[in-house]
């Protein structure tokens, strides 16, 4: 019934007017969430409305688009998260730069912490769609928000968003990384953001962060980031070699199987994992439940051929009650290939 009503809204109303009706529907679930009453129905209605709104934005005739775009941007002022989400998604494909500017305004406003987190996340998702010029502006604005220590700020999310600005973010991230306090505040998100820049200049800082990682969780994150950055910078063989050597050292000798398995995955992604010379070590790591997920993913992503014994081991991981759901999933993908 909801879908029929929404379809009627779209058919009967001018496109820009239908936006308002759909926003009301999209808001329902979030309005009623605190009461927990009838949430399934409201959730379905909100989802249908959001899909309809996205479709409406996609198909809106050019002549009506400017009016609709402005209404959607105005919707970003809403306190209702359903409206916020619907407007973000509807704008993200057809007007990423306009959406980016609106999100930056939310971040620079600096009043609502909840909305800041949403805006940073949304910005991270559309970063790659922004024009080069907008990416430059966004990177500068994000860096200013992060570096302003006097304001409340979800810095890690903003650093992730900054990373999505790709090479426009490199200078800012290097500056943040060199600032002891800032670096400490954002070090969870910094390796991934540096890797996302795809800029060779980020490699030394990334290597340094990896050296200084204080927990296995941090080491795994930086190991993967090293592999990701190395995969993108084929212009500087020396830096790639440094990253690969770091990954290989972790793969071959790290005391933590989980870190070694993450290094195997990073090596697989840069094409430096060999079935002949590394296969035995990877499968040895897969025996450890803590390392199994990334070890198997390394096998999958390197397209390592499997012999019958290895297939049998993987079938065992599918059956093993100790395997996590993710491990079973990757094992099944290996068996399917």
């Amino acid at each position: 019934m909801t879908a029929i009503l929404l379809s009627l809204m779209i058919v009967l109303a001018p496109a820009s007017d239908a936006v308002d009706d759909l926003m009301v529907e999209a808001a329902r679930f979030y309005d009623g969430a605190a009461s927990y009453d009838g949430f399934e129905e409201d959730m379905a209605a909100a989802r249908a409305a959001r899909l309809a709104l996205i479709d409406l934005a996609r198909t809106c005739p050019d002549a009506e688009w400017v009016a609709m775009r402005d209404r959607l941007i105005a919707g970003l002022d809403s306190e209702n998260r359903g409206v916020w989400l619907a407007c973000c998604q509807a704008l993200s494909r057809r007007a990423p730069d306009a959406l980016g500017a609106a999100l930056l305004a939310v971040l620079q406003d600096g009043n609502g912490v909840g909305r800041e987190a949403l805006a940073a996340d949304a910005l991270a998702r559309i970063g790659r769609r922004l024009s080069r010029e907008t990416r430059g502006v966004a990177a500068t604005a994000l860096a200013q928000c992060i570096e302003d220590l006097s304001r409340p700020c979800d810095r890690e999310r903003m650093v992730t968003a900054l990373g999505s600005m790709e090479d426009a973010a490199t200078d800012h991230l290097l500056r943040i990384g060199a600032h002891a306090t800032l670096c400490r505040l954002v070090r969870s998100a910094l390796p991934h953001a540096l890797a996302s820049t795809g800029d060779a200049r980020a490699m030394p800082l990334l290597l340094s962060l990896h050296e200084g990682a204080v927990s296995d969780g941090k080491r795994i994150a930086s190991v993967l980031a090293l592999g990701h950055l190395a995969r993108q910078i084929d212009s500087d063989g020396q830096l790639v070699d440094q990253a690969v050597q770091s990954n290989r050292a972790d793969f071959e000798s790290h005391a933590s199987p989980a870190v070694a398995a993450a290094a195997a995955l990073a090596l697989a992604r840069t094409g430096h994992l060999s079935a002949d010379t590394d296969g035995a070590r990877v499968f040895q790591l897969a025996d450890d439940p803590a390392a199994r997920k990334n070890a198997l993913r390394a096998v999958l992503e390197s397209r390592m051929p499997l012999d019958s014994e290895q297939r049998q081991a993987i079938e065992g991981y599918v059956q093993d009650e100790g395997s996590s759901p993710a491990v079973r999933k990757i094992a099944l993908a290996l068996l399917a290939d």
Binding site: R81, H192, G217, A221, K293, K329
Partner: protein
Amino acid sequence: MSRPPIVFIGLIIVAQTPSSAAVTLTAGDTGVQRGGELTFTATTVETAPVVKVTFSYQGTGDTDEVTTSPYQIIKSMDWATMENLTVTATFDFENIADQSDTADVDVVDITLVAPTQPFRRTSVTFVARTDPTGLSVSSWDWEYDTALLDNDTTDESNSDDLSTWGGRIVISGTVSVEATLVSVACTKSLEISVRNRAGVGWNTPIDCVEDNEPLWGAPLFGYNEPLGQIRDEDSDVHHIIVPQTSTGDWSDGVVVAQVPSGPNAGLWYVVSECLVIDQETVINRYMKSGGPPPEPGATSFFAYNNAGCISNDMADCVTAVEHHEYRGTPPAVKSLEGHFGRMENRLDAIGHPGLAVEPLVDTTEAGLLAAANDTVEFIEASIDGFTTDGSWSDAGPNWGGEGALGSGKHTRYDVITGAYYTGCTFGPDHF
């Protein structure tokens, strides 16, 4: 018993048989594919009035009668196939004996056998054979038409009655085969409806390790550093569906391949996928019992607030942060009061990304990966929007409200003055 008058009867038969063909039956063509139509025309040079002409067909008891000239019938040849099937036209004259003529036609067909509802990626073989069997065919033309790509091939490998064409099928379409059978051009087609693969290999596991990094967290200065977070376990960033090498890129999570040959040759499809949701929650160590002070020599956050804003309930407050990141209070699968519970909730509502990428097919690898990224991105954005916001929990049993586990109101350290703020001004609003 006396013998019958054989000689007399024989004379009568001779008298009733015309000396030359006074009636003629002609067929519109030498043959037809079964189910097709043929025109049969009967004519006579007799001047006697015609009562009716009866057409009969070998292999069936079916007859047609025509009472007015022209004595013509358009017949749908939809019964058994046969070479040299005999059709007979019998004239019933008003004053003279019946007269007949026959025409031979070929009714042939192609038998096409194919699995019409294969699962995607199944290797199938389409088999075409002459009907009746045993006819010699020099060339079979195959075609598989889809919305994305049409492929065809010609089988001239031998001249027997059989041809096959096969390969992995990844997209629905129409398979058709054409061949000339004893001068009759025949074609046969079947709709192939590819079924989506499903099952555990296409479901998206969702998992979360609680309080996974004991060393995580920054001093709780007045800058509103987070008390807790939920994030991807491997990369430590706010990604939900992984592997996501960079934001919006899930290409490492899908294994794609190109169909090398056969009806779907050239198409790229998803062989398998390993998309998962593998989250961790982290709780700021500076808020935990026994956690470090914000500055050397200062009182720890736990001790300060336990004696003040969160009087003697600081342990509950830490638990409330954990529950907020995980599955609410009390912890429950798909809880609307915890970030992870909301992810579980949303994943079920919007559908698993693995199932969403399973049907994707494209003519290029880049196109397929882009489609996969678009598909997963929409799902992740939906889950993300549903779970990111913290305001939904303000009235629940975890935060706020009478009897809630954690009051949330607390004070933070001011690094400028070197002391905690005087009021309990910070609330449960930043995770």
